[in-house]
């Protein structure tokens, strides 16, 4: 976190030296607009937004450029609507369930009940399972379906990859080969628009809205990606998900696959992706539980500063011996990582790489040496990844450009493993997995002196008063002032930290609903069409959501729907202070390869 060197002229941008500014921003509005629109826009943000984009890699820039292109139908209007209709008094009736992001959630028809079961099975049935990946069954399901199946048509979110000749490459549900006709239809829609249906050349279809369904298109050379969704996620989010799916495909094949289409436009790509269904379905699943998929940032496993330093030192050691990237991860969280000089690793690449590794069971069996491509690093070339699981959740990835390096990397791994064992890093990692990270219940009080940051994370006690929480879900529970959850994203570090889920956000479904709400917030805060927003306060029947964006960080918080606004704002400042206090433990600081 380098908030102190904020280059913004506005003093309200930097909360950390002075946690008051957020209150200031709201003060006047509280007076004028007590129960009216509570959207706060700060129009001086245009330049800052640009600056942020450049600091944060190219992703936001690209997206925003795309957004200005033509769209069919009013996807644009929808996202605007969402922002404008919310207020403390107005309950936006039909779109209210959508704040959960899940249209079929209320189980309106018999057929969607089938979906209900399906979704529950996906995300675990045990309430209070914090790790919503736990109960998810890997692999593709419903392979027996095709576009004639009623169940297939009722699925809430489809993803397709097809070739420009209309050949199916991947479908989330159903058998690709049986979906050839459907693919051809999608292809026809895309090429109809491309081939001069409109006046100018180069028109691309982006979005079709049909009732509550959105059909989002993404064209990547000879590869077409399509999402059909009735989850009411914003267009930008769905498009971002298609980008990730494309990236995952590039990670497996590199962009060299385009050459196959140059040689033979009718090339059938499915055999090339043989056995990777599980990788894509795992990625698609992560869209509903992993905030990294829309934040474009990664998260670290909380560890004592010295522990992470020890891990980083040994990784640096091997990086100096010719390893391009050395990454130690525990599930989807980074323990430490280093890169060779001038090599930088994009958070999206990390997401795709860890998804690839974690979803492919064979990596757990033995050490592996595999070609992989990092789409953000170099989409046309393979790197070679040495992968080894040090324990059931912790795995080491050593990436190199040399196809001959296996034995060297194996030696490196042995050295690393020895050091990690000797310095107890691995046992600390295990402990951290059990303890979890930041719990909103532990949010330090305003006036309490902070006696060493370790105490905030390291001594978490399971709350003994939790049984009462289930009985009275609408009184002040969770953290102070009704704080239920937060995500803090550091712009400079490309990292985020998310609080652990606690009552009442217990079930995977509630967690998914909250992430969808955050995702909407994120999309609206980064929508250039309406100017960048600095803060947003939104109250609906599910939550109070308060978002605060500065050049240094973004804070997304969820409160009890009855939370007091003034207190919520104060609490946000306390969260920022807390994050700052423990940044040594929750972030990977210092010599990072993220030198943009």
């Amino acid at each position: 976190m380098s908030s102190s060197d904020s280059s913004s002229s506005s003093s309200v941008d930097d909360p950390n030296p002075n946690p008051k500014p957020l209150d200031n921003q709201f003060e006047s509005l509280n007076l004028e607009q007590e129960s009216e629109s509570t959207i706060i826009q700060n129009d001086d943000g245009e330049g800052q937004q640009d600056q942020e984009s450049s600091l944060n890699g190219s992703l936001n820039v690209n997206r925003n450029n795309h957004e200005q292109d033509d769209r069919i139908d009013g996807g644009h209007v929808t996202s605007v609507l969402w922002r404008r209709t919310n207020s403390e008094v107005e309950v936006d009736g039909p779109s209210s369930p959508s704040s959960s992001g899940y249209a079929g959630e209320r189980g309106s028809s018999g057929a969607s009940e089938d979906d209900e079961i399906h979704e529950v099975a996906n995300h675990g049935v045990i309430d209070g399972v914090f790790d919503s990946q736990a109960a998810w069954l890997p692999g593709k399901r419903h392979v027996d379906e095709d576009d004639a199946s009623i169940s297939w048509r009722k699925r809430k979110k489809h993803f397709f990859i097809l070739s420009h000749s209309g050949k199916p490459i991947y479908s989330r549900y159903g058998d690709e080969h049986k979906l050839a006709g459907f693919s051809a239809t999608l292809q026809a829609i895309i090429s109809f628009v491309e081939n001069g249906y409109m006046d100018e050349l180069g028109d691309r279809i982006k979005l079709v809205r049909a009732g509550k369904h959105q059909v989002v298109f993404l064209v990547k050379g000879p590869i077409y990606l399509v999402c059909i969704s009735c989850t009411e996620e914003p267009y930008e989010s769905l498009r971002g998900q298609l980008e990730l799916i494309y990236g995952q495909m590039i990670l497996i094949l590199t962009k060299a696959v385009n050459r196959c289409f140059e040689k033979n436009p009718k090339f059938d790509m499915t055999p090339l992706l043989g056995g990777t269904d599980v990788v894509f379905s795992s990625l698609i699943h992560s869209f509903s539980w992993n905030p990294a998929t829309f934040l474009h940032a990664y998260t670290c496993l909380p560890l004592a500063y010295g522990t992470r330093q020890a891990a980083g030192a040994i990784l640096q050691d091997v990086a100096d011996s010719g390893v391009l990237f050395a990454i130690l991860m525990c599930k989807h969280k980074v323990v430490s990582l280093v890169g060779a000089q001038k090599a930088s690793l994009h958070p999206d690449d990390m997401l795709l790489l860890s998804n690839f590794i974690m979803s492919s069971e064979s990596f757990r069996t033995s050490e592996s040496f595999s070609p992989i491509c990092l789409p953000r690093y170099n989409p046309v070339a393979f790197l070679y990844a040495y992968v080894h699981y040090l324990d059931v959740d912790t795995y080491l990835m050593l990436l190199t450009t040399s196809s001959d390096a296996f034995y060297h990397l194996k030696d490196c791994r042995i050295r690393i493993e020895t050091v990690l064992l000797k310095s107890n890093v691995l046992s600390e990692v295990q402990r951290s997995m059990l303890d979890g990270g930041m719990h909103v219940e532990d949010l330090p009080g305003d006036l309490l002196p902070r006696s060493g940051s370790a105490s905030h994370l390291g001594q978490h006690q399971q709350p003994t008063d939790s049984p009462g929480r289930f009985r009275e879900p609408f009184v002040g529970i969770g953290g102070p002032a009704g704080l239920w959850h937060f995500i803090y994203r550091s712009i400079y570090l490309d990292q985020y930290v998310s609080s652990e889920f606690s009552a009442p956000i217990n079930s995977p479904r509630q967690q998914k609903r909250l992430y969808r709400a955050y995702q909407k917030l994120y999309a609206s805060m980064h929508d250039k069409g309406n100017g960048p927003h600095k803060t947003q306060f939104r109250r609906d029947e599910n939550y109070v959501l308060l978002c605060w964006v500065t050049p240094d960080f973004e804070l997304y918080t969820a409160f009890d729907p009855l939370a007091d606004k003034g207190l919520a704002i104060k609490t946000c400042n306390r969260v920022c202070q807390w994050v700052k206090d423990v940044e040594n433990e929750i972030f990977l600081l210092g010599a990072s390869p993220f030198s943009w």
Binding site: G275, S362, S368, S370, F406
Partner: protein, 226 residues
């Protein structure tokens, strides 16, 4: 970048690109498994190395590396470094990375699938062209327990192996009874050093599997021709 450390050692042995002997007492042999996806290469190697069988299918990515050291009767040890390659088409171009310098290649097909037998022949030709000149090859017809679905006659495998100077075995639990006799016969033969190593290794592994595997396919008659 890694010159000197890796190039020499990616070879089958410490100091020979294709050989079988590192020093007199401690031998190191590089072995590679090739074949179409889904024929059971990983199952075979995990059975060899760990005595495990996992019926759930786990698609191999790139290649997995496993090693197994066995002790021979004359107190020499042989360390097998096994590359279990992915059968997927997208990895075919990378196969030389794994088979280069291998002393032993085990080429696996599924007896219920003629395509995989064709693919096995492709790998044999590929190795004859680009592998070490004196590589020892074994052709393995896996899933012999699915005899009712058999589409590749045993004789086809034998004939092809014979023509190409390969070992041949069909693996399946159902015919495990024949293993001992076949191995005894096998061990009685005059062998070159490397073939002897292979025989020892295969027999010890196959022999140790006998009786453990009841339901699942693995291990069986062992024919070989040179």
């Amino acid at each position: 970048m890694f010159v000197g450390r890796s190039t020499g050692r990616l070879g089958g042995l410490n100091n020979s690109e294709s050989g079988g002997v590192a020093d007199a007492k401690n031998l190191r042999v590089k072995l590679v498994l090739l074949g179409d996806s889904g024929v059971g290469k990983s199952c075979i190697v995990l059975r060899f190395v760990r005595g495990q069988f996992d019926p759930t299918s786990k698609v191999t990515i790139g290649a997995s590396f496993l090693s197994q050291t066995i002790a021979l009767q004359d107190s020499t040890t042989v360390k097998f470094e096994i590359w279990d390659t992915a059968g997927q088409e997208r990895y075919a171009a990378l196969a030389p990375l794994y088979y280069r310098g291998a002393a032993v290649a085990v080429i696996v097909y599924d007896i219920t699938s003629p395509e995989t037998f064709n693919k096995a022949q492709y790998w044999v030709k590929e190795l004859q062209k680009h592998g070490s000149a004196d590589i020892v090859m074994a052709l393995v017809g896996n899933k012999a327990d699915l005899n009712e679905k058999r589409e590749v006659p045993t004789q086809d495998g034998i004939d092809y192996a014979e023509k190409n100077g390969m070992f041949f075995i069909e693996t399946s639990a159902k015919t495990a009874d024949n293993i001992n006799q076949l191995f005894e016969l096998f061990e009685g033969e005059e062998q070159s050093v490397r073939q002897k190593l292979l025989t020892h290794w295969l027999s010890s592994k196959l022999g140790s599997c006998r009786g453990k595997v009841v339901k699942e396919h693995f291990i069986a008659p062992f024919h070989w021709r040179t």
